[in-house]
Subunit: 240 residues, 4 copies
Amino acid sequence: MINVTVWNEYRHELKDDKVRDVYPEGIHGQIASFLSEENIKVKTATLDEPEHGLTQEVLDNTDVLIWWGHLAHDEVEDDVVNRVHERVLDGMGLVVLHSAHMSKIFMKLMGTSCDLKWREAEEKERLWVVNPSHPIAEGVDETIELVEEMYGEHFDVPTPDELIFIGWYEGGNVFRSGMTYRRGNGKIFYFQPGHETYPTYHHKQIQKVIKNGVEWCNPTPRSRPVYGNSDPLEEIKGFE
Amino acid sequence: MINVTVWNEYRHELKDDKVRDVYPEGIHGQIASFLSEENIKVKTATLDEPEHGLTQEVLDNTDVLIWWGHLAHDEVEDDVVNRVHERVLDGMGLVVLHSAHMSKIFMKLMGTSCDLKWREAEEKERLWVVNPSHPIAEGVDETIELVEEMYGEHFDVPTPDELIFIGWYEGGNVFRSGMTYRRGNGKIFYFQPGHETYPTYHHKQIQKVIKNGVEWCNPTPRSRPVYGNSDPLEEIKGFE
Amino acid sequence: MINVTVWNEYRHELKDDKVRDVYPEGIHGQIASFLSEENIKVKTATLDEPEHGLTQEVLDNTDVLIWWGHLAHDEVEDDVVNRVHERVLDGMGLVVLHSAHMSKIFMKLMGTSCDLKWREAEEKERLWVVNPSHPIAEGVDETIELVEEMYGEHFDVPTPDELIFIGWYEGGNVFRSGMTYRRGNGKIFYFQPGHETYPTYHHKQIQKVIKNGVEWCNPTPRSRPVYGNSDPLEEIKGFE
Amino acid sequence: MINVTVWNEYRHELKDDKVRDVYPEGIHGQIASFLSEENIKVKTATLDEPEHGLTQEVLDNTDVLIWWGHLAHDEVEDDVVNRVHERVLDGMGLVVLHSAHMSKIFMKLMGTSCDLKWREAEEKERLWVVNPSHPIAEGVDETIELVEEMYGEHFDVPTPDELIFIGWYEGGNVFRSGMTYRRGNGKIFYFQPGHETYPTYHHKQIQKVIKNGVEWCNPTPRSRPVYGNSDPLEEIKGFE
């Protein structure tokens, strides 16, 4: 059982009819609905809840956090960002969607500006799998076709640990659209599609990628590294 | 269910009492015995069987192949090496153990000399996990203590996709002891411990690492890339 | 001073007027002409010369080898391929251009099929820099525009050590168009542009990338790793 | 000409006779003295100078900044840290030495805790080159022997872009001792040796590594990426 919390800024949906038409239950509601399965238990949280819905207790009970934000990155309290950061280093998975590339939490984890080129032009995007044996590409076609906001290189992020998708745009741009990072004990998956006015999260293949991302990010039982002053090591142990 | 074939050269055990005492059923027998579990079905194959036990049919029914060899790398027929190579590119997982670093199949997949420093001196090795959130480190202590043959840097292999273990040796050497590579659709895990005169494959933590490696290498259902002459792409599809 | 040998198959130019019009001195001649500078000394070699122009002496006096081939990969003798392979592991740089992705030497170094999608359709390509601080991108615009043969993903090569360019094609494809690999002591740069019927190697920015690639691949004085049986190490030395 | 600024906390030297004996001109003075060469112009800056000696003007005229700190990471003003961070993303190189692994600037660039194991036990360290063709290893022996403070794994940093040295310690630990990262347009080299009570920066090979690191980090002329709203791209240009 994977405990997932879907966090959404939830502002576009409240003030823009077009967005509400696409996501009547909010982007978080739509993501929660397609993730809910036997092995995934989903909750949601939004910006305007107390502590943005991300209390210590909520985070302590979250295996994988999904983050969608755009208009109001600056309204996310630094204390909550630090709390999420600690949990990621402690092992919680993080799936960062679309415009969350400039969320405080992603920028803090990356250490760079996370800036990029963008264009809203109802243009065609085509995602290509460039890492076909990666679990995040399991059951995914070699190319996925969308209408999307253009996100273009150069994308100012660290070189990813793994590059899984490259996006092609009608207007002449490319983008590293699916990438993984490990930070501390936590695994992070950035996935570019998901502009609020397009029905991206209704697309079966996009849903499959996000599900795969959640499973990939899910922490498994492990020994935690021990830090600090450390004695020399002597004994040999561990044989039957 | 993962179908594993454990391939062993099986020469040391037949001519050296010391090795036979450690591995009375052969190295392949010992590995097969600790891998046999609910979700893993194990067969073995050895050098002196016809086609080294690796017929096309055997390979077609193998999800993950484990390879241990040392004295007789040159006796492995090129046809069989090519057959294994094809299956790895096609998606079969490959776990390469210890002295198999100079097996024909590993060298062919790496493209380098795969050479290293070595020393047989009954010395202490200590493996350190340097990638604690990797599935291959799941349930593994932060350090594993062994008596082993020294394998030392520089190890002439490509920079790994992922470095999971670094080995420390009493005599002053270090080694990248656990590494992953992706080649074609196949995943490869190289793991250094396993000198034939030491009871390494009786060590519970080593067994755990190899089991984790098998699970990590196991191919999952995916779209195969299509190569060759290709039309321009036009239509948009895939929404509900 | 960097000693460069430009190797070209040199068949298209001899039998196809269109290609000869674009490269009257051969592709090797054109590359040699723009590389010749104060700090670069260029020779050429072609398939139909004895030993393909790549005698041991030539290779021993080559710091960086550039390789262009297409029609006749199979005619390159295995002995010469092995000789080049040895020199790369020994430290010689290698710049692999366009259709040389399926040359024997590149496939031997990569360990994979090196296959890809392709299409000849007089279509627009746009190269994007995704690693702006890399020396190979020095003095290069953030995007380079070409008419090229389409080379598309999935490109069946190992994950590169460094990804520098991503190519966008009018027809809907993307490609990892500039990538580096280290193998042994040698550095390798694969660069996709250069179809024989287009004036790609007359393009100033493409020339700049290839020059940068040559400089990046150039070996520098270093201690060679020592392999084989090795004593434990004891003494401390090296302070003033 | 490379403009280098060596930044040192400069506290140990003022209050501890043992450290002052090793570095009578301060750690910064010693590093400055061995770096001063034809192609390198060195300045120094320390914590207790106004703005820690790192005014905007100083940083704007610095190609590569070297950072040594230990006792007083918290006394470095956030404004100065942010200023250095901006300059790194803008292209300034950064060489991070020893205990600066927990400096604010390194932690901000990495996004992780940067924690590790440590031990002061006058013990032997042996650095091994694991990336022999890297420019930072140019002219460096395959192993460097030191007496050093132990820094041990797990080191909680992102997977490096390039791993160049692994450190071995007498007491049983290993460490990724030399690593590179790219962040924004800037290049970063972390190098572990340099405990204040040992004469590490008097060691010729260590000096060579740091010089190589400075040269590797030095920014070269390049097109800066353009971010933000971006038109579709149409024209083909750039041929002779």
